[in-house]
Symmetry: C2
Subunit: 552 residues, 2 copies
């Protein structure tokens, strides 16, 4: 994929990325949202700009500050602090738009792994909590600047540990600093003819370390694997020293300790370097759109594909409401083309399926041919490649749509899970019911869009985007209540609490439901071994002990 | 694959499987081994039968024995004890043939998971070590009945926890007891049209729990994945209760705790149940042989295949010495056919490559076509399908060859590792040199056969089989010294200490080289949390603490 100019490191603290890339909602889209969910159909008077951040005097003692500054750049500039005041969830953005965000006491930017070790030592000595900070794109509170029981908190920004340090073109592995972002890595790999192929929605901003810490999945993960699958080895800086886990290509020398670092969300240490599997830039790429009359028919088709070993590299099946919203919210031209394609095939609405194929040219052709037979047998109607290509072109722009919706007075947030194929339809219905019930405000119904974007031989992810008229009196509680209800439904169904967003603060109340009390005790035992002072990312991932000094 | 009669549960304690399945070495093979490594060319007078096991009075107090018997079948029968006196390494067999094996104090056979929990409680109360025992096929000392610091030791045999308890044909997952063996599972799945597709050399005897505890890889793992990749969830009975890790199909709810149980070799708990990904029995299977002039040319071909996404499901590339030995040791007819095929292609010796393809018929055809082009471009000569089919037919019989060689006065043992593609040739040379130097006795050279049987995009496994004239004065030391030297070479090269044999007792001195001191401390912290009395499989996987009461 050609890499354009790199986006700036810092995002708009009140929204996604660069405000200049936002595209205003077209008038027909606003009218549709007015009818659909009762949003005001004219742009509301913009809210007052949020109060300028006015951080309280830093809680970091002068001696500690001086010690930190020996090893790293230390900033207490209010704008820098605001940019590190949490992630990009609806709750985060709403709090920042209302000037209600907590700020870290300082932002610390180390140059290398050794400096990270030193900083952890300083922070342990001075009772300062440390929040590892990559792209700041968490949507579950993973980078909230919580002090926990500590005297102060810093955001430890990895942006300077961001070099491609080794390329092994024979073994197809590379080594890079954890602060490197997706486009930076792809740009550095392009001269070698290589690609990582990991494209989460946050790709333009998220870092390799963040992918690892949260067990990221990307748009092409059906073909390229989840980020976990790409990690050959990973280096962790902890208060007790350095841990390097993993050697190419596979081992049975005890449990796989990579698996403890992946998904550790900064509570065991700071991921500073990764060795990753890369691939040749694909010789051929082919995107296409298909239409199914029902979500169930589309699910059946995807299941048959992946279980036959014919999964595409990219898969995205929209449910009827997401398909309807795509038609309604796209630019007029795009919508007209898509409606035309559907109607030429005797369809309207239904469920849109985007597939992407990548790889060696003849194998892309052969896989597509075998897959096409399965898709047609499942009553799929092919819409052609233009629909798929349009999706690929616009795939990193949709993040900006949220900011437009927030400005227009909406509550907008996402929720995701995954379960076994046999349980997907039931879970889909149950989560929809929970969200639709809870997000209704007065007469206004919410818009709830669902899709499947990651398929596996044993099951699939489910991703929901909820858009509702914002409850101006309680915009945070409106989502928190709905999300809680939906997560209880997910836990009761024994589906996963998160498929690729991780735990952070927001899923903390439910992790025990998924991994059990003994699982939590294992995480705590590892934490106590590596971070006995508990300075690393307090309040995330590991629930507080119910009884202090637990014992049998 | 059609499943014949199930092999008996218990193996010959002095060799592999059932002695009746052994085929004597043909005279031409004996003559060849005489010339090659100086083995006596007539069958030596059989050694005296080993002294009948005469176990000392059990160290288990009557009260504990009664408590165990409340939950499980308890046996102190000498033959039963001997069958649980370790695994199947050269060291194990040699010790047992010499009557030098330690025996467990009892063999305990629980009926279910709840009984396992109860037994762990009894053993913790009475200071009895517990060695979880599946098929008993460990070749690294993983099931040696070590007491460690405890008063007694039991082998906990999982053979009665061996049912297929659930089949989900839609999600393609099954749930089974950990004591189930490979053929038992394949036979239970066949009526559903399903297969696990995991075929380690030990397949006829090894259990699902053993695969999990050791991170097994099978002959078809290039296509079907390592056993790790098949585990949807796993249940562990620990002294602190039950841990169930994993939910279909993928999660980002914290670190993947499955990865702690896989490869835990019984030191954290007893694996009692697994939910596994299964597949439809492949529509088509195609095996074939190829020949390469050099090992390097074969390696290049395999690397190009797997990096192009065209890896076969089964791959086995023999080096020149393994190819030569295959020609020399096979039956005369087979050897003549293979020599004829080679000579018709203007080749002799070189390196034999076996490939197996499985799956949907047209995809097997298309993948093979694309792969054939790559193999030919790498100077491969195709030998046809008969060579591949012969390998598949005989693949579980080769384990018996070792017993014949032992009887003929040989030392015979294997060693395996894996590394990145760029490092495979150098590691191959270094390990060969170490083993050839150390196994030379007087004028007699060893025979050292090498092959690659598992390929990954980033690297490959290396597997060596050493056959030497046995040092009758020090048959154990002869191998221990050679293996140590080779393992030091492997550690220095930063290759993996074990690719699929696990750690056990034999690799314990080197695990710290691979996972680092902090890695060992993490394993110890988990162990202390789950098994604070240290009763589970002492002396395996986790090195003893160097300084008691370690602290910073």
């Amino acid at each position: 994929m050609p890499i354009g100019p790199l986006p700036p490191r810092d995002m708009d603290p009140l929204g996604w990325g660069e405000p200049s890339r936002r595209t205003p909602l077209p008038p027909h889209a606003k009218r549709w949202l007015h009818r659909e969910i009762g949003l005001p159909d004219r742009r509301p008077v913009p809210a007052d700009p949020p109060p300028a951040p006015n951080p309280p005097a830093s809680r970091i003692p002068a001696e500690a500050r001086a010690a930190l500054a020996e090893h790293a750049e230390v900033s207490e500039d209010p704008v820098t602090l605001l940019r590190h005041a949490g992630g990009k969830s609806y709750l985060d953005l709403t709090r920042r738009r209302r000037g209600e965000s907590d700020l870290p006491d300082a932002v610390v930017i180390p140059p290398d792994h050794v400096a990270v070790l030193a900083i952890l030592g300083v922070c342990a000595d001075h009772d300062i909590a440390v929040v590892p900070f990559g792209g700041g794109t968490s949507v579950v509170g993973g980078v909230a600047p919580l002090r926990g029981p500590h005297a102060a908190v810093i955001a430890l920004d990895l942006r300077r540990i961001a070099d491609l340090t080794h390329v092994d073109p024979e073994s197809l592995t590379i080594t890079a600093g954890a602060g490197m972002r997706g486009p930076e890595l792809e740009r550095a790999l392009a001269p070698y003819g290589l690609t990582l192929g990991h494209y989460p929605q946050s790709w333009e901003y998220a870092t390799l370390g963040g992918y690892a810490a949260t067990r990221s999945a990307g748009q092409a993960s059906t073909g390229y694997g989840r980020f976990d699958d790409m990690v050959v080895s990973v280096q962790l800086a902890t208060p007790k020293g350095t841990l390097v886990a993993g050697r190419a290509p596979a081992s049975s020398t005890g449990p796989d300790l990579r698996g403890l670092i992946l998904g550790s969300e900064g509570v065991f240490g700071v991921i500073t370097e990764l060795t990753l599997r890369v691939r040749p830039i694909p010789e051929a790429t082919y995107d296409e759109g298909w239409s199914f009359r029902t979500f169930e028919a589309g699910l059946t088709a995807l299941r048959r594909l992946v279980q036959a070993g014919l999964a595409p590299d990219i898969t995205r099946l929209s449910d009827p409401d997401e398909t309807r919203a795509t038609l309604a919210l796209s630019g007029n031209g795009k919508t007209r083309i898509l409606r035309g394609l559907l109607s030429a095939r005797g369809r309207s609405g239904g469920c849109l399926l985007i597939l992407g194929w990548e790889g060696e040219r003849t194998m892309v052709r052969d896989r597509r041919a075998a897959a096409t037979a399965i898709l047609r047998a499942a009553d799929g109607a092919r819409l052609g490649s233009a629909v798929g290509e349009a999706w690929r072109r616009g795939r990193f722009e949709t993040a900006y749509l949220r900011d437009e919706l927030l400005d227009a007075g909406a509550m907008v947030e996402t929720l995701e899970t995954a379960t076994a194929w046999a349980d997907v339809p039931g879970l889909y219905d149950a989560v929809r019911t929970a969200l639709l019930t809870d997000l209704r405000t007065g007469d206004a119904r919410p818009l709830l869009m669902g899709h499947v974007s990651h398929i596996y031989p044993t099951g699939a992810s489910l991703y929901f985007t909820a858009v509702a008229s914002r409850d101006t009196g309680d915009p945070l509680g409106q989502w928190i209540r709905a999300k809680s209800r939906a997560t209880e439904v997910i836990a009761a169904a024994r589906a996963v609490i998160s498929h690729h967003h991780a735990v952070g603060t927001d899923h903390l109340p439910w992790i025990t439901e998924e991994i059990g009390p003994l699982g939590v005790r294992i995480l705590r035992a590892i934490k106590n071994e590596l971070d006995p002072d508990g300075i690393l990312n307090p309040g995330k991932l590991i629930p507080a002990e119910e009884k202090p000094g637990h014992s049998e």
